[in-house]
Amino acid sequence: MTEPEVIVVGAGPAGLSAATELARAGRRVVVLEREAEAGGVPRHCGHSPYGMREFKRVMSGPAYAARLRDTALAAGATIRTGTTVTALLPGGRVEVTSDQGPEMLAAPVVLLAMGVRETSRAARLIGGEKPGGVMNTAALQGLVYLNGQSPFRRPVVLGTELVAFSALLTCRHAGIKPAAMVEPGPRVTAWSAARWLPRLMGVPLYLQSDIAAIRGRSRVEAVVLHTPNGEVEIEADGVIVTGGFRPESALLRTSHLGVDPQGGGPVIDAWGRLADPAYFAAGNLLRGVETAGWCWAEGRRTAHAILSALEGRLPAPGGARLTVAHPALRLAVPQVLGPASDAPHDRLQIRLTRAVKGRLRLTQGDRVLVEARIDALPERRLSLPLPPTLSDAEVRLELEETR
C-alpha cells in the first residue's frame, strides 16, 4: 500500500465503521490494531444482541466483530493487526511497533478509536490481599469466550452497570454461579429490568454495599462486604470487578494532545477533531461506555467529517470552550463548540457521577442556550441538543438540583 490518507488507531466498532466509510469513498485507509484480531470488545462478548442497527439482524459479539472486519476489508481498507502504536506525534505521525520492530507511519489524518476499559481493582483501592481470580468483565469474557476457560465457580460481582449483567450472562454461559452482586449505590445502575436477572439466577443483590476486603493468598477464599447491616463475609473463589469505564487514553496523556481532565478522553470539537487538526477521535474513547451500535454510527459520521477535512471543506479549528460547572457532571463531549451544521456531534453527550434530579442548562454569558429538566441515573445516556450557531465566548454547562 502506498502512503495512507487516513490512519485509524483501533479496530473496534468505531474504527472499523469509519474505515469502511473512508475506503468506500475511495480513500487509502489503514487500521492499526494491537490485538491479533480485529473487532474490538465485541470479539469476546459471546452473547447477543449486536448488529441490529448496523446489519439489521441479531448477532453474537464475535459474529458481529467478524462482520465489521470483513465489511471494512471488502470496502478496501487495510487492517494491520499485532501492531501497537507507541507514540502520537504532531501532524499525524505515529510511532508503532510490531514483530517487524519499530517504524514511523504518517497520514494527513489520524483517527483515534482506542476504546475503553473498566476501572481496575487497584484503582478502586479495594482492600485485602491480592490473590488470583480477581478480574474485570473483559478479562473474564476473554477467558470464557476466547479460551474456553473458566477461572472460578462462585465469584462476587462488583457493580451494576449494564456490563455487570453481561458478566452475569457470561457466568451463566460458563456454568459459573456468582455468590453475590454488590452495588455501592442505592439502586441498580443499569436499566431497571436488569435488576431481575440476579434474582432469576438466584444471586443475592447487596445494595449500598461495598467490598471491604478480599481474602486469600494465591486464590480468593472469601470476600468481606460492608453492608447497611454490618460486615458480611461471603465464601467466594473470585471477584468480577465490573464497569467504571474509562477511555483507553494513555497514548493521549503522553502526547502533545493531552486529555480532558473531566472525562479522561480527548478534547474534541463538533467534528470530532482535536486541537492538532491532523487528529480526530470517535467511539468509546470519547466518553467511557456506549453500545457498539452507537460507536459504529459515530465512527461513520466522523468518517464523513474526515472526508470533508481531506477535501479542505472543514472550517478552521476553534470555537467556544465548554466549562463544566458541577461535580455531579462526569463528562460532557464535545468540549469545543462551534458552528457545526452537518457535524458528527450535534448533541452534547453528558454523563453523571450519581443520580440527579434537576435542570441542566447550557449558557453563554447571561444567555441560556438550551435548558432541560432531567431525572437521571449515573452512567446512563444523557444529552442536550447543541445550538446551530455560537460565538467563541465560553459556554458553561450548569446543573441546578431539585430535591
Binding site: 499485532g82 487497584a122 482492600g127 476473554g142 476466547l146 476457560q149
Partner: protein
C-alpha cells in the same frame, strides 16, 4: 545416593530464595561451592522480597559502625561493579531528605553529620526554595533539606533474579516447593528434610526472611530471635506522574522507620509508601482503603499535582524485622550453620554485601571457577532498550507495559522459569500497568497454560 528421595548432596544449602538468598547463592557459587537453593514457594522472591521501595541506598542514615551499614556500603559498591555484566538497571535519581516542620529542620544537622560519618561526603544542603528549584512540583511547605546524590533507583526483582541466574549458570541448583521441615547434623554433614525430598550439605545458610526464626528452630532445634513482621503499604501512580519527581523524596526518618517516600520507579511510575505497621501474620499482607487514601493524601501534601494523576497499582509488603533493629547474622548456633536473619528494608541494597560478609564468615576454601559465566538479564526498566524496540518480538501482549511475546516466552523457559503468575509479572511486568490485566489476561492464560508450577487458573 541410595535414598530414592534424595535430591543430592552439596557443599552449601541456602534456605530461602529472596534477594539475600539469591545473593548468597551467587557468592558461594562463584567461590567454587556446589550450592543448592531451597525455596518453599512456587517461585523465587515470594516473601519479603516481593514488595519494597526499590531504592539502592547509600547507607547515609544507617546506624554508625553497624554491620548493616558495612553491608549496605559493600552491597552498594558491588551492585555498581556487577550491574552492567548482569544487565541490571540503575536510575541515577539522587535523593532529597526534606524537612516539613521546624522540628524536622532542627534534626537535619544531626542526620547530615551521621551521613558524613557513614562515609557519604557529597551531601548538598538545601533551603526550601533551593529544593523547589530542583523539584518544581514540590509543595511550598517544604522548609529545608539536603541532597544525597548517590541514592538511586533499581529494579527490585531483576537484581535478585540476576544474582540467582548467575549462580545457576555456574552450577547451582534451585529447588522450588521445597520447604525445609527438619535438619539433622551427623558426621559433619547436614541432612535436611524438605517437602520436595532430602538434601544434604556441609554448610547450611538460613536466609528464610519472614520465616528465619522458624527455620532456625526446625534445623537447629531453637531460635535466638523472633520475627516481628512489619507491613508496608504502597500506592503506585500512573507513568504520567513520574515527571513530578526526579529525585527520591525522603522524609526525616524516625527511630522505627525511614518514613513515607515518594519516588519514581525503574519502570517509570511514581511510588508513595511505605507505611510501617506491626503485625503477627507472616503470610498475609493486606492493603486497606483508608490507609491507601492516607498515603495518597500524604503524597499530595508533598507533590500537590499528584491529585491529578491516576493510581495504577497498590500493594503491601512485609519486612522481616525482629525484636532488635540490627541484622541477626550468626555462625555459632550450630556447626556448619549460619543464620542470616532480621534483614529488614535494607536487604535489597545490602544483599551483595551481606553475601560477601557471610562468605568470609564461612571461611571455607573451594576451587573458584576461573572464568565464570555472566548471564545478562533482559531489561524491562526505563534504563535502556526494551524488547519492543527490536524486531522479531512476536508482538505486544501486555499493552500498558509493552511486554512482548518473546519476553514472556523467555520468562517461561530456562532454569529460572517463572513458577507463578506473580513470578511472571516480576520478570516481565505483564498486567502491572494501567489496565491491570483488563486486556491481556486471556492471552496470558493461553500462553502460560500448563507451564506454571502454580497455574494462573486452577481447575479441579
Amino acid at each position: 545416593m541410595s535414598d530414592p528421595l534424595s535430591l543430592g548432596s552439596y557443599d552449601v544449602a541456602v534456605i530461602g530464595a529472596g534477594v539475600v538468598g539469591c545473593a548468597l547463592a551467587r557468592a558461594f557459587t562463584l567461590a567454587g561451592a556446589r550450592v543448592v537453593v531451597l525455596e518453599k514457594a512456587a517461585d523465587v522472591l515470594d516473601g519479603a522480597s516481593k514488595g519494597n521501595s526499590a531504592i539502592l541506598h547509600t547507607g547515609f542514615d544507617a546506624p554508625e559502625g553497624s554491620l548493616e551499614l558495612a553491608c549496605i556500603r559493600d552491597g552498594y559498591a558491588l551492585y555498581h561493579e556487577v550491574r552492567e555484566r548482569l544487565g541490571l538497571p540503575l536510575v541515577r535519581a539522587g535523593a532529597m531528605v526534606l524537612a516539613w516542620s521546624e522540628e524536622e529542620v532542627a534534626s537535619l544537622p544531626t542526620l547530615m553529620a551521621q551521613a558524613e560519618a557513614n562515609g557519604i561526603t557529597d551531601l548538598e544542603p538545601l533551603t526550601g526554595p533551593g529544593a523547589r528549584a530542583l523539584e518544581p512540583a514540590l509543595s511550598a511547605a517544604v522548609r529545608a533539606g539536603f541532597r544525597v546524590p548517590g541514592e538511586h533507583l533499581i529494579d527490585p526483582w531483576s537484581a535478585a533474579h540476576g544474582y540467582l541466574a548467575q549462580a545457576l549458570a555456574n552450577g547451582a541448583v534451585l529447588l522450588r516447593q521445597a520447604e525445609v521441615l527438619a535438619g539433622r547434623h551427623s558426621g559433619g554433614v547436614w541432612h535436611l528434610a524438605t517437602t520436595a525430598g532430602a538434601v544434604s550439605a556441609d554448610l547450611v545458610i538460613n536466609a528464610a526472611g519472614l520465616w528465619g526464626d522458624e527455620v532456625d528452630r526446625r534445623v537447629t532445634g531453637e531460635s535466638w530471635f523472633t520475627i516481628k513482621p512489619r507491613k508496608g503499604q504502597f500506592v503506585v501512580y500512573d507513568k504520567t506522574a513520574a515527571a513530578l519527581a526526579g529525585h527520591i523524596l525522603l522524609p526525616v526518618p524516625t527511630k522505627i522507620t525511614k518514613g513515607i517516600v515518594v519516588c519514581r520507579t525503574a519502570f517509570g511510575n511514581l511510588l508513595v509508601g511505605p507505611t510501617a505497621e506491626e503485625q503477627d501474620d507472616r503470610d498475609h499482607a493486606t492493603v486497606e482503603r483508608e490507609t491507601l487514601q492516607a498515603l495518597m493524601r500524604r503524597g499530595e501534601e508533598i507533590l500537590p499535582a499528584l491529585a491529578e494523576h491516576e493510581v495504577t497499582a497498590v500493594y503491601a509488603g512485609l519486612r522481616p524485622a525482629t525484636e532488635e533493629k540490627h541484622y541477626r547474622i550468626r555462625d555459632d548456633l550450630a556447626p556448619g550453620y549460619i543464620c542470616v536473619g532480621g534483614i529488614r528494608s535494607t536487604g535489597l541494597s545490602a544483599a551483595l554485601g551481606i553475601a560477601a560478609h557471610v562468605l568470609r564468615l564461612a571461611g571455607r576454601d573451594w576451587a573458584a571457577p576461573a572464568d565464570p559465566v555472566w548471564p545478562a538479564m533482559p531489561n524491562i526498566s526505563v534504563d535502556g532498550q526494551r524488547d519492543w524496540q527490536c524486531a522479531g518480538h512476536g508482538g505486544i501482549v501486555c499493552h500498558c507495559e509493552l511486554v512482548t511475546r518473546r519476553e514472556i516466552e523467555a520468562a517461561l523457559t530456562g532454569p529460572m522459569a517463572a513458577g507463578s503468575l506473580a513470578g511472571l509479572k516480576r520478570r516481565t511486568r505483564v498486567t502491572m500497568g494501567r489496565c491491570q490485566g483488563f486486556y491481556c489476561s486471556a492471552e496470558l492464560a493461553r500462553i502460560s497454560e500448563g507451564r506454571l508450577l502454580q497455574p494462573m487458573l486452577e481447575h479441579d
